[in-house]
């Protein structure tokens, strides 16, 4: 839900995932989540296996749980959604403690939680081990169209500048005695947001002029991306392959 995350999740480190090229990691991540999403409902062995796989991948990054756990909490609204499912889904009702719930809803909720949690675990593992500039290089290497890559690169480059500007506005408001507590503070907060837009837009114009004065002619120079060795590819795709095995086992 985006709130309260001014900093990138990336943490420097020297784990296997840190050293792996972002290109291989991104392909591996995508392959793994696609395979996990394909696991049929109620295939508990495969779902539990993929959940363990997700945890293993996250633990292998060596980043402390204090950093990763708060990030996993952003999925909370969907946990609530999943917990409601057994009560509203159709199908045969089964008793569960003092209430009766829908059997298919219960199965769906369990499946959904397992898949969403696996996705979140490996997503956090990717985010903590990938520097923003490496993501830009990976997108470029994966032949994402140029305009998209350059917009992403401008965004990651100016994220801390714009968040810093926002933080300074907050300090300026607080030092003038502003305390946002109720709906009455909305006009003030909105005025800062408006000012932030004007400043961001004008910064964009200045950046464009600076680019022109340095000879920009419609294309940013291609950056040298690190090469991905075959063994790196094998390692990056290993979790997806294991999940694929679990999927085949579940389908049989």
């Amino acid at each position: 839900m985006g709130a309260g995350t001014g900093q990138h999740l990336h943490v420097e480190g020297n784990s296997l995932l840190h050293r792996m090229s972002a290109t291989a990691k991104l392909v591996g991540l995508l392959a793994l989540v696609v395979v996990v999403v394909a696991i049929p409902k109620g295939a508990w062995f495969a779902l539990a296996g993929s959940l363990c796989l997700g945890m293993l991948v996250l633990v292998s990054t060596g980043v402390s749980a204090r950093h990763t756990l708060p990030r996993l909490a952003v999925d909370l609204p969907f946990v609530v959604f999943a917990l409601v499912l057994p009560f509203v889904a159709t199908g045969t009702r089964v008793p569960l403690g003092p209430v009766t719930v829908s059997e298919s809803g219960l199965v769906a909720a369990g499946t959904l939680l397992a898949k969403a949690s696996t996705g979140a675990l490996v997503g956090v593992a990717f985010a903590v081990t990938t520097a923003p500039r490496d993501l830009v290089l990976a997108l470029q290497q994966l032949r994402v169209p140029d305009p998209m890559v350059s917009i992403v690169s401008f965004m990651v480059r100016y994220l801390s500048v714009v968040s810093g500007e926002l933080a300074r506005m907050r300090i300026a408001l607080a030092s003038r005695g502003f305390r946002g507590r109720s709906l009455r503070s909305w006009p003030t907060i909105a005025a800062s947001a408006g000012a932030l837009f004007v400043r961001s837009f004008e910064r964009g114009e200045r950046v464009h002029l600076a680019m022109l004065s340095r000879g920009y002619a419609g294309r940013l120079p291609a950056l040298e991306a690190p090469t991905t060795t075959p063994s790196m590819w094998a390692l990056a795709l290993a979790p997806a392959a294991i999940a694929g095995g679990l999927l085949v086992g579940a389908l049989r």
Partner: protein, 228 residues
Amino acid sequence: MHVPDGFLNLPTSAATAVVAVSVVALSARRARAELDDRTAPLAGLVATFIFAAQMINFPVGAGTSGHLIGAALAAALVGPWAATLCLTVVLIVQALLFADGGVSALGTNVLLMGIVAVWTAWWVMQTVIRLTRGRPRGVLIAVALGSLISVPVAALAFSALFAVGGAAEVPVGLLMKTMAGWHVLIGAGEALATTAVVGAVLRTRPDLVRLARRPAEDVSAQESVVIA
């Protein structure tokens, strides 16, 4: 707000991804007209602004607060094509650098927030502006209605996708009613916040609010690009 992995089945996720990729590709081309020829740095910084705007907390009272989704805000400020482009980049960065939203659900999230919410807001805003015939208050009324309606419409689009390829058999009527009900409330908050932000920009730099520009000015802006 972000759909995680596993909520929709693979065929539905893939279909939404295909739609998202084609609309975003079209937006990339059309955004050049909206942002003149400065697309990359401007869209990049507007995307960064939308991301930052989502971090601003609007207190609701009793210690809770909400934040903007930003689809209607982006559409009002930079126009629908550029808004789709900016929200797509925000969602990509959120999914990959912040683990917010599932990677396999990226297409779904782009479709719901970057396309359905943006275009609903834009169409409503355009209609209201035409009905109020350029009265000064018209822009703000348009922004309020556009953001109010865009949120529950995006929620209904999610419900429809969930009915087609969701992980559970939920009565569609009930799901739609619940989702729409909650999101009308969220939309009311979105409307208040978005209108206030656009109002603030209108007071300082009215020329930057795309929605407030008259069609004639657009034509001259495009001509000047051709000349440049």
